[in-house]
Symmetry: C2
Subunit: 396 residues, 2 copies
């Protein structure tokens, strides 16, 4: 990892161990912008929202922020009034340590649901955490927010607006409880670009739709998901021209898409990353239902694990997806190998070829419904013995 | 097993090996009524319907039938025109062997999707199968239709109508690809009761709703599911009085409920049977969505496997169920042990007690939403290493 590529003008970060997760690795991260930054966020659609989600949604209303504090090991979800007080105390401690208003601090948590946060431990380490802030600290922050993740997730993009260079750096965590709508984990993105809150919100929302809302590990949406972005303007560019804006959107989508794919690749127990594509559906809703039903089917996901192009299970999933499909019009491919033509199996040779591709670990599953002009896709992973082990043992 | 209790007046059954599934066990079953029987059926709601489903739906329109022929090892699904011809040939072979019209024969199949049926093998053994029909053969038929099932599933009920005794005997198969709507497998029910087709259809449909449509193993609905019932009238009872009809409905629901619970207990890799109950929902739709989302959550199901009363995952599932729930009103119990009160954890002692109950293998998970008068429930099982093994290896 080239740590230098994750430095962004005007941003610092650091991480410490606060004793919140097992082991002595870092579990509390702080990201700080030296100047007030434009801020935008997308938050979980789960009706059960963790305390830090509720607090950050409130603070985000100003369209400005200057710090993100995030802990692993405890989700501070389903913790009632006490949880909300603890999230506020965390924001206040950070605000005091870095010299900003508490409302300028966004809070995120990930870990076990339903246990009270050890707020004393957090308050105790925050002054030291603030003192350790450094330009090179963003990768440390990415490591600190890992739970069942097996690797830290970072991505960067260098762009230009009106001839002025800017950078976008994103970090994310997430491996289980992953399902579109929304956002599938924690993702923090920093940029030195100059941008107002309205445009930044539009960028973050549209890119979330095409990236984090197009991945699934296990069909479960977390109570704590959020994507937060701060743009501190230190690049000094002029307002973006339409073509600069599209370039920025492309770069941001690239960073978020990278991170989203890393999350699926690191899906709990996953050995395969599969891009499930539905083509030529009758409506966008049909395309979306079809990809989601196939990508979340346990039978399809165990077949991925077994490297078995078991297209009967794919047909079965399509048939119960609640769409108006016609069995005899369906074509299915694994990468370039067609295994189903007009609803019927192509044959054993094709399936053998397809199985070889599946052994490679990353492939496309393309379903053509031949019914209309609408496409959709979603990234998913396989369902493995290790997924069961991780989730049967997680709390014990 | 007391084989005698599965004898029904006027019905015979037999099973043979036709070489359709691995091993030399029976894989083709025939059930025959000596006289034309009133018939009723409920069929999969999957848009992709197997050939035997399409054929049996057509034959069922007459409200009469005299035989059911069912094979394991091959689902005859996604097999196009050839598959439909093969189902028709199967019905014709049985019709010839037992001396009835082909339209009086119902056909069912279970096994691998997308492979052509070995119709020659089936035609070759049908005369011998018909010759082996015996009053005591129903348990043999139950064994023949097993695929990943680990035990045959039989249930019986003895009732009276107007002082005349009748019997209801049901058999079922199913362990994976199990999900409400519909019916979750193959189930055949025989009775000697006198009943017209309209009343029989009403009975079978209403009892399916409360039994087979209230179980789930993996959220996948098969292309081949069906419940078939034949009532041959040999008991000689008068038309049922309203109170006799309620007694019959209760007995039939008991038989179907027994078989449904056996299917969950035999769920692929299952070690736990859990009755997920939602109480006091705002609407029937909310109650249904809540039980289905919790009962199909992989995170909840792996926690069952780990004997972990991980109520945070239950809250997370409720929050994404698409219902208008209020977190601070939710109570959760494992059998009689309350683990969540008003959205907050009761404590470690209660969870320890709950975990002990979960070790027992069969328990209730009760969620009280405190929002209205509507209840629902669904039987589910845990998600285990063995489920993954079975489904990653099924075709190989």
């Amino acid at each position: 990892m080239n740590e230098q590529q994750y430095v962004v003008n005007g941003f610092k970060a650091a991480a410490v161990n606060a004793g919140l997760k097992k082991g002595d690795g870092p579990d509390l991260a702080l990201i700080f912008s030296e100047m007030p930054a434009t801020a935008a966020g997308v938050f979980t659609t789960n009706r059960v929202k963790a305390a830090p989600v509720l607090l950050s949604m409130r603070h985000m209303k100003r369209g400005k922020a200057q710090a993100i504090v995030a802990n692993a090991g405890n989700a501070n979800a389903c913790t009632g009034t006490r949880g909300l007080n603890d999230a506020e105390k965390t924001a206040a401690a950070v605000a005091g340590a870095v010299g900003v208003d508490p409302e300028a601090v966004l809070v995120a948590s990930t870990g076990v649901i339903g246990a009270p946060l050890d707020i004393d431990a957090i308050q105790a380490v925050i002054p030291g955490l603030a003192g350790a802030l450094s330009e090179a600290g963003i990768p440390d922050a990415a490591r600190a927010i890992m739970t069942t993740d097996s690797f830290p997730k970072l991505s960067a993009f260098d762009g230009q607006a009106g001839g002025v260079s800017y950078r976008v750096v994103g970090l994310a965590k997430g491996a289980g409880m992953i399902m579109p709508h929304m956002a599938t984990m924690l993702c923090f993105i920093m940029s030195d670009v100059v941008m107002d809150a309205g445009q930044l919100t539009d960028m973050v929302t549209s890119c979330t739709e095409t990236t984090f809302n197009r991945i699934t590990v296990d069909g479960d949406t977390s109570t704590n998901d959020m994507v937060l972005m701060m743009a501190n303007g230190s690049a000094g560019n002029d307002p973006l021209t339409p073509s600069d804006a599209e370039s920025f959107r492309g770069g941001l989508a690239g960073v978020m898409g990278d991170l989203a794919r890393m999350i699926v690749k690191d899906g709990e127990g996953a050995t395969k990353v599969v891009d499930v594509k539905v083509q030529n559906a009758r409506s966008p809703r049909d395309a979306s239902k079809a990809v989601r039903t196939v990508a979340n089917s346990n039978l399809v996901k165990t077949a991925f694990y077994g490297q078995d192009p078991n297209w009967g299970r794919i047909m079965g999933a399509l048939g119960r997806a609640g769409i108006d499909m016609v069995e005899s019009q369906v074509d299915i491919r694994i990468d370039d190998i067609q295994i189903v033509s007009k609803g019927l199996g192509v044959g054993a040779e094709a399936e053998k070829e397809a199985s070889k591709i599946m052994m490679g670990g990353e492939f496309d599953l393309t379903i053509d419904l031949h019914q209309g002009p609408y496409h959709d896709h979603i990234l998913t992973c396989d369902l493995t013995h290790a997924y069961v082990s991780i989730n049967a043992d997680y709390r014990s």
